[in-house]
Symmetry: C2
Subunit: 415 residues, 2 copies
C-alpha cells in the first residue's frame, strides 16, 4: 500500500449523515491484518430474511473472497458481511480458499448464523496469505458492539489508499411506503471497468426478492461503477453487494419479487442515483487526481461502440496528462477515438470542452475562443464531449487526470 | 510538442555508421514548418525501378499522408519520400488532402518524377493545417544536395520528442550476393500497436518485387513494431515504409518476386533483426523511460492470447509505475493477466523477474530470494516472464516504465 498523501481536493468538508437502515448493524475494529493499531476490519450484521445481490470483477484471476461470494449468491440470503483491508487474499491459492472458509466459520459462530449466509471481501496487497485466525479475537466484540449508526466507522474501515470515506443515501417509495437505501464504497487506484478496484456495499430495508434485486443491481451498475476508470487497471477483488433486509415490510411496504414490477421504478431510480454518486466519489478520490472528467460520446454506431470510444479517451495517458496540464489538447482526443477500433469518420467528428466546440467536420473549429477554453481547463470538473455524427449510440464515462502524484503513489514506495 | 528534456540513458555513445544503399540518396533541410531554424524536413530520392511496401496505423482517424501513401502503395513503385516534423497533417480535413496533393506535386516537380511515386509522412501536432507551400523553397536545394551518406542528418530530421536518432543496418545474401538493408525510425510517445507513433523508413538494394516485399514487411512487423508499447496510445500517423532499389542486381543478385522463395530466407531474417533493433530503440527513447522491459508470456491457449496478455501487462500503469519504483510487484502482474480477458488459471500461473521465479501455482514462490530480485529491479533492462501453464501460445513484447517525467513531458507544456 502507498504512503498516505494529502487528502483529495474533492473530499467533502463533512461526511453525510446516513440514517439507519432497519435490520442492518455495523461495527469496525482492529484485527492487525497488516498493520497493528489500524482499523482494518468491518462487520455488517443483517436480520433474518435479508436478501442479497452482487456484481464482481471480470478478472480471470479473481480473489478467494470473490470466488466465495459468487458461490453463495445463488441462494440469495445473507446474515453477515466481513470486510478487511490490508490484504486482498488474491492469488493465494489453497491458502486463500482455506482463509475464506475459516473466516466464514468464525463469523458464522460469532453471529450465530449459517456459514452459507456469510459474505466476505478483502482489499489490500495481492499474493500474501491472509491469516484469518486474526479475526477470531475481534469478532465477538464486533458482534456485541454492532450499531445501526456506525456508518462512518464502517466506511473508514474498508479504505486503503482512499483519502476520504465515500458514503451516500437515498430514499424512494414502494407502494406508498418510504424505503431507504444507503451505502459506502472504497477504491482509489486499479479502477477500471469491469469493475473498479473497488468495494461497495449498499443496504436497503426494501422487501425485494433476491432475483429482482440482482436484476436491478446488474442494470444499475452498467452506467455507474462500470462507467468509471482511474487507470484502466482492473482489480482481482472488485465486489459490489446489495443487501435488502425487507424491514420496511413491517411499515407496510409490499414484498416485490419481479424486477419488472412498476412499483420498483422509484426504487430503481434511487439506486441508480446512489450508485452513481458512490462511483463518482471513487473517481474523485482517484490516486493523484486533481480533475474530475466527464467524457460523453454521442453519434456512434451504437451504445456499445460509444462506451468503448469513451473509455478509450478516458484511459488514454496522453489525454489524461494533457488534462493534468490544463491543455485542451483535442488532437489527443482524435487519437483516442481513432485507436478505439470503433467506426469513426474523421470528417464528421466534433469535439467540445465544456460548451465550447473546438473541432468540427475533420478540422479545428475556426470560431473557437482559446481564452474561453483555457478557463474551462482550469476548473476542477471538466466535461469533454465527442460527437461522431454517424449513428444513435451514446455513452458517458467518468475519469480523472493522470498526474505525477499518481506515479509517486504507485512507484515511490516499498511494499 | 514537448520541451526538450535530458537525453535518454539508452542513447548510444556514438551513432552507428551506415553504409550507403545503392540507389538511395538523402537530404535534410529547414522548411520552417512549425519553428524556424530547425531541421524539419527530410527528402529521400530513389533510382528508377525502386519498389515499396508499407504498413500503417490502424487508427480509424488516420492522417492525410497515411491516406495518401495507402492509395499509392498498390502500384508498388517509389521515386521519392518527403517527411516533415512539426506538423502531423492529421485531422485537417479538406485542407489536409490539399496539402498532401501539393506536397507530392512539388516533390515530383523538383525530383522530375511522377506524383504517383512520391511518398509522404508527417509527424508533429494534430489538427493544425500544414502549409505545404513551405516545401517549395527548400526542395530544389534538397534534390541538388542529396547524398548517399546523409543517414544521420536524415534520421535527425524526423525527430520530435525523440532524444536520439535511431539507426540500424544489416546485410544478407541473396543468391550468393551480398545485399544491404538500413533504416531509421522515430517515436517517443503515443507508441502502441498497431503501430506505434512512429515513423520508420527502411531501404535496401535487394531486387525484390513489391508484392513479396509487402509480405516480408507485414510478417516482420508483427514481432517488432507491433510488439512494442510506450503508453498504449496509437497515433494517427504511424508509417513504416520499406524501399527496395534493386541496385544489387547489377552485382549479380537475382530478382525475386515471391516471398516464399527460399533464397529470401537470409534477407527476411536480417529484416526481422533490423526492425526489432529499430523498434527497441523507439521503446528505449520512450518519453520519460528509465527502464527497458521485456514481457514474455508463454503457456497461453494460443499466440494471439499470449500477445494480448503480454500487452495487458506492458500497458498497465500499475505494473509500469512499480517497475519505475524498482519493485517486483508481481501482484500487479497477476492483476494485468486477469484483466486481459484471456483464459487464465490462477492456480497454474508462474511469474519470473529475471531468472527468479516469484510466484508459482497460484501463490508466492516460497523459495524466492527477495534480495536477488531487488538487484534485478535496479537494472536498466528488466525481463518479466509469465507462464500460464494451459497451452502452447507464446509472445514477447517490449515496453518501458511509467515515470513522473512521462507526465511532465506530456502535461507540463503549453502547445
Amino acid at each position: 500500500m502507498a504512503k498516505a498523501g494529502p487528502v483529495s481536493k474533492f473530499a467533502p468538508a463533512t461526511l453525510p449523515e446516513i440514517p439507519p437502515i432497519d435490520g442492518v448493524r455495523f461495527a469496525a475494529g482492529m484485527a492487525g491484518v497488516r498493520y497493528s493499531r489500524r482499523v482494518d476490519v468491518m462487520l455488517a450484521l443483517f436480520d433474518e430474511g435479508t436478501r442479497v445481490a452482487g456484481v464482481f470483477t471480470r478478472s480471470k484471476c479473481p480473489s478467494a473472497p470473490v470466488d466465495w461470494c459468487r458461490a453463495r449468491l445463488s441462494a440469495g440470503k445473507a446474515r453477515a458481511l466481513l470486510v478487511n483491508s490490508g490484504n486482498a487474499n488474491a492469488f493465494t491459492g489453497r491458502l486463500g480458499r482455506d482463509a475464506v472458509k475459516l473466516s466464514a466459520e468464525l463469523v458464522a459462530k460469532a453471529a450465530q448464523a449459517s456459514e452459507r449466509q456469510i459474505f466476505l471481501a478483502s482489499t489490500g496487497v495481492i499474493g500474501e496469505p491472509l491469516d484469518a485466525t486474526k479475526f477470531e479475537r475481534v469478532l465477538p466484540k464486533l458482534v456485541k458492539t454492532a450499531s445501526p449508526d456506525a456508518w462512518h466507522d464502517a466506511a473508514r474501515a474498508i479504505m486503503t489508499t482512499d483519502t476520504f470515506p465515500k458514503l451516500a443515501t437515498r430514499s424512494a417509495e414502494i407502494g406508498g411506503v418510504e424505503v431507504r437505501i444507503a451505502g459506502f464504497s472504497k477504491g482509489a487506484g486499479m479502477i477500471a471497468p469491469d469493475m473498479a478496484t473497488m468495494l461497495a456495499f449498499v443496504f436497503t430495508d426494501a422487501p425485494i426478492g433476491a432475483e429482482a434485486l440482482q436484476v436491478l443491481l446488474s442494470r444499475s451498475v452498467r452506467d455507474s461503477f462500470n462507467a468509471i476508470t482511474v487507470d484502466s487497471d482492473t482489480s482481482t477483488s472488485d465486489t459490489l453487494l446489495l443487501f435488502a433486509t425487507g424491514a420496511a415490510a413491517a411499515r407496510g411496504a409490499p414484498q416485490i419479487d419481479k424486477a419488472s414490477d412498476a412499483r420498483l421504478d422509484g426504487f430503481a431510480a434511487a439506486l441508480d442515483s446512489l450508485l452513481l454518486e458512490l462511483a463518482h466519489q471513487v473517481v474523485k478520490d482517484g490516486e493523484g487526481a486533481r480533475k474530475f472528467v466527464e467524457v460523453r460520446v454521442s453519434g456512434a454506431v451504437n451504445a456499445r461502440a460509444a462506451k468503448r470510444i469513451a473509455l478509450s479517451i478516458a484511459n488514454s495517458p496522453l489525454v489524461k496528462t494533457a488534462i493534468a496540464g490544463e491543455d485542451a489538447n483535442w488532437g489527443r482526443v482524435v487519437m483516442a477515438v481513432g485507436k478505439s477500433g470503433e467506426e469513426a469518420d474523421r470528417d464528421k467528428l466534433a469535439i467540445w470542452f465544456g460548451d465550447t466546440r473546438v473541432a468540427y467536420k475533420g478540422q479545428r473549429d475556426p470560431s473557437y475562443d482559446e481564452a474561453a477554453v483555457s478557463e474551462i481547463m482550469k476548473r476542477d470538473e471538466i466535461k469533454l464531449a465527442v460527437d461522431l455524427g454517424i449513428g444513435p449510440g451514446a455513452a458517458t464515462v467518468w475519469t480523472c487526470d493522470l498526474t505525477k502524484e499518481y506515479v509517486a503513489i504507485n512507484g515511490d514506495y516499498r511494499s
